[in-house]
Symmetry: C2
Subunit: 335 residues, 2 copies
């Protein structure tokens, strides 16, 4: 009998999560009942938002339950089915979580075509991060050609797509990332106009040099001091898309910072938080565009891949520390 | 020869302005040249935004120049004219500033009908503060019937109109103001559902009690700690209209405060600064509605009136300290 390995949330972290906040358990691979199918997971996704769900407080999603499988997006292959809509051999994306095998009744599961793009891309540029970039930039910031767009977390799965979509729309794009390998990648390979390594460069001063005409749109993945330095450079009627605040997810108590509302007032800024799920009804509009840009080579992506469920926790912690370039994935099987 | 008294900005204030930051000067009342007319000012308006213009830094408007007449809205009567569009006896609103008589070439000047509403109302509920309330609430917050709207600075010229317009649109309205006379007025006379005196009540705790279903829209006139306490009570997809930040206008150096962007993110809030002038092309749409509500008794207002140009400075400083109820005006003449 085959074994299913799963990672559960064992404890709610205080501050930065520890490996002991998770627990790997083994059980028998389940058999699908009538109306169910069994997925062998190929890749699972680890994402910044998961840190928020590990706290007890409800944020936009219900908290991750203790002693249950860590939730998360996956792609995989149907290996047994008693469901009319899914057949053995189908490739699917869904929300199976941190495990090797998962039963499903089909809810929230979508078939994907691995001939259209590599399977893993459906967790990245053609998946939730890609949709996040598309709608968060185009709907919330609504950049116009010639405007200056700044992206933080620019070498991550979302940020790297945001910058390229902004370039496709004729903007000048400056990315902020933590590492020379990251800044080189987004400028040399992705075509960002400039990049700042916030770990070694004075971010605010460099932004001033790189954006002499000010900043029209800011796509914020990080919050904190980097974002503090950007608000004073925003132009009148600038737009800030608040997608993530990763610099604050692991704080034991909330930080204070400069008050930003006086700038929101005098620059008549629009600052808007959003969740990709708000745009779920419109994914069908974004997907063919993203797939088209991918095919045309206008939209590139990169993956950092850990191997094996036993490395999911370290991949997640590494991603929270910014060790990944592009989309952080965990490869589970060669399906 | 008649004398024109004017108040000039004598020095840029550090922190809270002092009477010595202003200077009263006298000169001869000028004669209109061809294409000009002369206005005898009836009322001049003192408004919070003027404090921002007294600093050297450009905010949304150019700074008030030193040794020039303090800028500001006025209503008055044309007493001599060599301009084809304006006749002796016309009543006008404009931007004549802190002086008793002003020449004009007609730019930015509008005729007003004192039979439609008392002349002073064109500086308040039918003027800039009224337009600010109308567009800042209806366009930026876009409240729906049944939603809960909170207004700070609720007994001021803008806030008192905001709350009433929200009531007209079927909202539940809670006002925050500094003084029992103010809270009584907005509840008993204006029909706010509840009010909090922030000087004597714990604002955040009282808001929690008064808004058990959370806050959908927040119209912010004050910023600072009051606003800090409101963000955590905002509902998902709430809207914040940033109209003023009066609690911070007189700080010698910027304050820090709790970071608000994490809440903007998880609650998917829209936080937007605006200036009434952005809606100038649409005043004609708002004006008849405001005038109609005024006539129907759905929109009430109150004025705090100082008398004589020599009292303009103390009226302005008193307004910055929150001593006024409703619109703070300075009456210059009985025209």
């Amino acid at each position: 009998m085959a074994t299913n390995r799963q990672i559960l949330l064992a404890a709610r972290p205080t501050g930065f999560p520890k490996p002991t906040d998770f627990r790997l358990v083994e059980s028998a691979v389940p058999e699908p009942a009538a109306g169910q199918f069994l997925v062998a997971v190929s890749y699972l996704s680890v994402d910044p938002y998961m840190r928020g769900r590990m706290n007890a407080a409800r944020s936009y999603a219900d908290p991750q339950k203790l002693d249950e499988v860590m939730g998360g997006g996956t792609v995989g292959k149907v290996i047994a089915s008693r469901h009319d809509g899914f057949r053995e051999g189908d490739y699917v994306s869904g929300f199976s979580g941190w495990q090797e095998y998962a039963l499903s009744d089909g809810q929230g599961v979508m078939k994907v075509d691995p001939h259209r793009a590599p399977l893993s891309a459906f967790l990245g540029v053609l998946g939730m991060p890609g949709m996040t970039a598309y709608f968060g930039l185009l709907e919330v910031c609504a950049p116009r050609a010639g405007e200056t767009v700044v992206v933080s977390g620019a070498a991550g799965a979302v940020g790297s797509a945001v910058g390229q979509i902004a370039k496709i729309h004729g903007c000048r794009v400056v990315g902020i990332a933590g590492g020379d390998d990251k800044t080189r990648w987004i400028v040399d390979d992705l075509g960002f106009d400039a990049a700042i390594n916030y770990k070694t460069e004075p971010t605010h001063a460099r932004l001033k040099e790189l954006c002499p005409g000010g900043i029209d749109c800011y796509f914020d993945n990080v919050g904190g001091e980097i974002t503090d330095g950007i608000f004073p450079l925003m132009n009148t009627s600038g737009r800030v898309s608040v997608c993530g605040q990763i610099s604050m997810y692991n704080l034991e108590k909330p930080e204070t910072g400069p008050r930003l509302l006086p700038l929101v007032l005098v620059r008549t800024l629009k600052v808007q938080g959003f969740l990709v799920f708000q745009y779920a009804a419109r994914y069908g509009e974004a997907f063919p565009k993203m797939a088209g840009w991918l095919r045309e080579g206008k939209l590139k992506y990169r993956e950092t891949v850990a191997h094996g469920i036993e490395n999911a926790v370290s991949a997640f912690l590494g991603m929270l520390r910014g060790e990944n370039i592009g989309k952080q994935l965990v490869k589970i099987s060669d399906n």
